[in-house]
Amino acid sequence: MALTERELEHLERLARLRLSGESREKLREQLARIIDFVRQLQEIDTTGLEPRAHVGAFESVPRPDEVQPCLPRDEVLAASPENRDGFFVVPAVIDAEGL
């Protein structure tokens, strides 16, 4: 049983990802099957267990709060599709139709 069109659009919007063409149909069906597959976990008895995020036996290890040299700005900006005067350039953020 595939995901509904509405469910898929919701996920696309959340993930800022647009699917197109035949991959859309295929993914709708495959995602439903995968979700079915992982749903089996709900049958496992996990009463009393705290969700575990980290496996290490130690607490978070911070570094000293000292200024260290960081990445050279020009080198970082050089990787960007568009930049100007030390800023990344993007389409208008505030726009009547956009967001």
Partner: protein, 494 residues
């Protein structure tokens, strides 16, 4: 010149120490090997002959200095950042990306004297088990080029198997070092979670990802691991204790180690030859008076589902940064949203999109508790069960992969079939435990099969000597891998 590729890291260090060979000669031998075989194996996304020879010349000028990996030609999976050198994660979205920094492991490898010869192919963003999800090329298994090398670190595994590099680095989130190691007949190691710094590893699933080495034997693998392991202030999840010596006690082998194996091996779907090798190993261990016991292994029923929830949830978060703003591909310009959607729609391959959407689903409002939080509880259960098991046993023995290499194209239509190939590898990722694949035998049509060991948290030393013991039992290289240039069951494409 060709014979130079036959030497292990350990043997080569001896030759360097005695000044019987120079780094330029060795690097040249590997570059010749690449020239001869790479066009058919396609392990590399890019090779650096000039830089490698330059580095080699500098090392020769300096002379052998006892550094751990002096003059060792090494290949790096293309999700490891190399400053100024393209790092693509085999994705269109990062096609031209040049990182402004080296990953910690790259810095450490260079400090240890090794020579990077190239960046290897992978499944896009490390998502896959066959290297077929790369946006750029398909890598072939050097043992038979119609077959997959495994994934996601297929390029790194194939490079070592085909003598295109003496060792390589890969990354393992759900089995992506161990499974290709098994399919390509080489040793592949994933350490305890936190043993190796992830700084500079392009993130897939931050609570699971670990970088690790491929090598032709256990001792070489130990030497590379020692060079890259250890705390790093730039990765707060690295273990603050000193890393163990991994090669000093190898000769002890399986002495004094208590082994657990899955008592219900018969119920898991796998190739009969994989089952045969596993059961024969257990019989041989019993014959050699090694204490072995059949147990119910933690996580076998649940680890794939747990893994695919946790890993994909974390991936959906980690891959949000590919938005066309700071680096990589940019498409669409009507609006910011349009740019995000077009960039990501165009730049990501299907498997990546599948996993991001699944991850988004399990984290979304209304589903978070049922899926993500639940998976973390199951993770807690699996961790506790392993801790319990390791109070009475030192190592867990089981197959690495349910099958030898499958044909290219065979599993592409069914993602779940592909995911099931991770059944034996995901438990160690979920519990953060060190695990290794050691080549054990060949299938009837000449494809390698590896066997796996898992150790308790932090116990890589026991893991490595257990692996050395298995390696001695299997004699894989002696039986199946011939001399220089003639490596790896030469049927096709040689």
């Amino acid at each position: 010149m060709e014979e130079l590729v036959q030497y292990s890291i350990f043997e080569l260090q001896e030759l360097y120490r005695k000044r019987e060979v120079g780094v330029v000669e060795v690097v040249r031998a590997y570059l010749e090997s690449i020239a001869a075989r790479e066009s058919s194996v396609k392990a590399f996304l890019r090779v650096f002959p000039e830089t490698a020879l330059d580095e080699a010349a500098k090392l020769d000028a300096k002379g052998y200095d006892g550094s751990a990996l002096f003059g060792v030609p090494i290949a790096l999976k293309d999700n490891l950042c190399t400053r100024g050198i393209r790092t693509t994660c085999a994705s269109k979205i990062l096609e031209g990306y040049r990182p402004p920094y080296d990953a910690t492991v790259v810095e450490r490898l260079k400090a240890a004297g090794s020579v990077v010869v190239g960046k290897t192919n992978l499944d896009e963003f490390a998502m896959g088990s066959s290297c077929e999800n790369s946006a750029f090329q398909v890598t072939r298994n050097p043992w038979d080029e119609e077959y997959a090398p495994g994934g996601s670190s297929g390029g790194s595994a194939a490079a070592v198997a085909a003598d295109l590099a003496l060792a390589s680095l890969g990354s393992d989130t759900g089995g992506s070092i161990r499974q290709p190691a098994s399919l390509c007949g080489v040793v592949g190691l994933k350490g305890t979670y936190g043993r190796v710094s992830r700084y500079g590893l392009v993130a897939f699933a931050s609570s699971l990802d670990q970088i690790g080495p491929f090598a032709r034997d256990v001792r070489d693998c130990a030497l590379v691991m020692e060079a890259i392991a250890g705390q790093d202030v730039r990765d707060a999840t690295t273990i603050p204790e000193p890393s163990p010596d991994l090669h000093g006690n190898l000769e002890k082998g399986l002495d004094g180690l208590r082994i657990a194996f899955p008592s219900d091996l018969g119920k898991w779907e796998m190739d009969s030859v994989v089952k045969d090798i596993a059961t024969r190993t257990i019989d041989d261990l019993i014959r050699d008076a090694v204490p072995v016991e059949g147990v119910t292994l933690p996580g076998m029923e649940t680890s794939i589902a747990t893994y695919y929830i946790l890993a994909n949830a974390e991936a959906s978060s980690n891959l949000a940064r590919y938005d066309g703003v700071k680096y990589g591909l940019r498409s669409g310009s009507e609006s910011l949203l349009n740019m995000y959607e077009e960039t990501r729609g165009e730049g990501f391959g299907e498997e990546v999109k599948r996993r991001i959407l699944l991850g988004t689903y399990v984290l979304s409002s209304g589903y978070y508790d049922a899926y993500y939080a639940k998976a973390q509880q199951v993770k807690a259960l699996i961790c506790a069960q392993f801790e319990e098991l390791f109070t009475t046993h030192d190592l867990v023995f089981l197959p690495t992969s349910p099958t030898p290499a499958f044909k290219l194209g065979e599993k592409l239509d069914d993602p779940i079939a592909m995911y099931l190939s991770d059944i034996f590898t995901t438990p160690a990722n979920i519990a953060g435990l060190p695990a290794i694949s050691v080549p054990a035998g060949l299938s009837p049509n000449g494809l390698p099969i590896g066997m796996q060991l898992i150790a308790a948290w932090g116990q890589e030393a026991k893991l490595m000597r257990g692996a050395f013991g298995l390696e001695r039992m299997y004699r894989f290289r002696e039986r199946f891998v011939r001399g220089a240039g003639g490596r790896g069951g030469r049927n096709a494409g040689h």
